[in-house]
């Protein structure tokens, strides 16, 4: 397996209204790596994430997952292997009950019902939400919704987990539980977040985006402690690193 898990080469993307969201982005992410993508609002994070499971196709450049390019035949398989957890769990949990929602993906893969049920239960167990299986999603707390949204993706046994602002809307305890949960996953992880403290805890590597370009790519502690770099791109140095490296 010499191919990197994710290989992005010179990706550009322009929206139909003319907005240039990505202007030549390249990076590689290896198997099992955890990488954060940070940047101010409008830097291109969400657009970039939408390329990772083929929802958007680059106007120019190349996206490869596990060495495979997106083709009509492969797109279903690639979408299974790249699980995306969206920012608003209400968008992700659209079925009548938690259980139906987690089983949605496996059933679409053509998995037999018994197996789909087994996978759904296992995924709910994995995030500690098995007791909620018959609940309607609108009755869950923000933290529960987030955990179930992650379970819906785990049920597809993905190789890569892509998360957009996983800690948004969570109270401190819910956020702490989420971080602990994510730390137990061995998947390749890509996390786009403004929560830089979470980034420090979970991702050893960080990619800084600004204006549709990668302005920095390297070890988290070094980049996020670089105050001028952070401030120049609408970010700030997380407190956690201040305490570790007092000046």
């Amino acid at each position: 397996m010499s191919d990197p898990m994710i290989d992005i080469t010179d990706v550009c993307f322009t929206y139909p209204d003319g907005t240039e969201a990505l202007r030549g982005v390249s990076f590689r992410i290896g198997h099992g790596e955890s990488v954060a993508i940070v940047g101010a609002n409008g830097a291109g994070k969400s657009t970039l994430l939408q390329h990772l499971n083929g929802y958007l196709a680059p106007t120019r450049g190349d996206v490869r997952i596990g060495g495979q390019a997106f083709t009509r035949e492969r797109i279903a398989e690639i979408r299974r292997s790249v699980g995306v957890v969206f920012q608003d769990p209400d968008d992700q949990l659209f079925m009548p009950t938690v259980f139906d929602d987690v089983a949605f993906g496996p059933l679409n893969l053509g998995v037999p019902p018994e197996e789909a049920e087994r996978r759904a239960v296992a995924s709910l167990d994995r995030v500690g939400m098995a007791h909620l299986r018959e609940r309607p999603p609108h009755k869950l707390s923000a933290g529960e919704k987030r955990a179930v949204a992650i379970a819906t993706v785990l049920a597809l046994s993905p190789d890569v987990l892509v998360m957009d602002e996983p800690s948004s809307n969570l109270d401190p305890r819910g956020r702490r539980r989420l971080i602990e949960l994510l730390a137990t996953f061995e998947h390749t992880k890509i996390i786009a977040s403004h929560d830089l403290e979470l980034v420090v805890e979970l991702c050893p590597r960080v990619i800084v985006l600004d204006g549709g370009l990668i302005v920095a790519d390297g070890p988290t502690e070094r980049l996020l402690s670089d105050e001028p770099l952070m401030l120049a791109h609408g970010l700030e140095r997380p407190h956690i690193l201040r305490h570790r490296h007092p000046h």
Binding site: N53, A76, D91, Q92, F104, N108, E117, E134
Partner: protein, 257 residues
């Protein structure tokens, strides 16, 4: 209502299809009674009562929901006593006109059918109800439509109320919006809803959505379910054919003489 649907009771465990069929038969039976009938309808209360009792449903709560919906039936029915003054029966020395009978009949039918419908939903839950309807042949796009509507009503309703509160706080205390504001606010809500639909679609596609929404509900009807539907239908047919109330009344009236 959701919490009620998730409870467990012998009634909750009955296959959704059996309950749908029994309730449909119930509504048809109730509505097929002659227009002046009141007393013969009474035995039919057994059905909603049984659902509520065995299903451990909160009767007061359901009753309140029935009462909330009553005004329309009341409004149209109330004309009957005014228009149909032909005396039809006596209670002691007082002659009762046909209009009062048909009015009472309308209200009894209303209470029967509405309470049965509410009890059906409360002891089944929307998702099992929809799965049952699908298995009974309701087209799947419509079933999915019902489920999505129910799911996002809460989300969008919440969003709408938040926007309304924000608008109210900046207005001069008026409870309703000016037309101009209304168009903008509802327009915003609509645009947000469209964006949400797009995001939902994205999340569906990323989990392999191919145009078909599959529901994992394996309910095999057992003898209990068949017995439930058949038993009730037999009871409705019986109550429809023989006026049980009349029999009881006559039997009692004979007693003292």
């Amino acid at each position: 209502m959701d919490d009620l649907g998730r409870m467990d009771s012998p009634i909750h465990r009955i296959d959704a299809r059996a309950k749908i069929i029994a309730t449909a038969a119930f509504v048809l039976a109730v509505m097929s009674f002659p227009r002046y009938e009141v007393s013969a309808l009474m035995p039919l209360f057994a059905y909603p009562f049984a659902l509520i009792a065995v299903g451990n449903l909160p009767a007061g709560y359901l009753l309140k929901k029935v009462a909330v919906a009553a005004p329309f039936a009341l409004f149209v029915g109330i004309f009957n006593p005014l228009l149909d003054r032909q005396p039809m029966g006596m209670i002691g020395p007082v002659a009762i006109s046909g209009g009062w009978f048909s009015f009472a009949s309308i209200m009894v039918r209303f209470t029967l059918t509405v309470s049965a419908a509410l009890a059906l939903v409360a002891c089944t839950g929307i998702h099992r109800l929809c799965a049952g309807l699908k298995m009974l042949g309701l087209p799947s796009p419509f079933v999915v439509q019902l489920l999505f509507l129910y799911r996002y009503f809460f989300v969008i309703g919440d969003e709408g109320l938040r926007m309304l509160r924000a608008a109210e706080m900046r207005s001069t205390g008026a409870r309703t919006l000016a037309f101009q504001t209304y168009g903008t606010l509802i327009g915003h809500l609509l645009v947000r809803s469209m964006d949400r639909a797009q995001r939902i679609y994205r999340s569906m596609v990323s989990r392999g959505f191919d145009g078909e929404v599959r529901l994992l509900r394996r309910e095999a009807p057992g003898w209990r379910d068949v017995a439930f539907a058949c038993g009730w239908i037999a009871f409705f047919a019986f109550a429809r054919s023989w006026d049980l109330a009349e029999f009881v009344g006559r039997w009692l009236s004979r007693g003292p003489s």
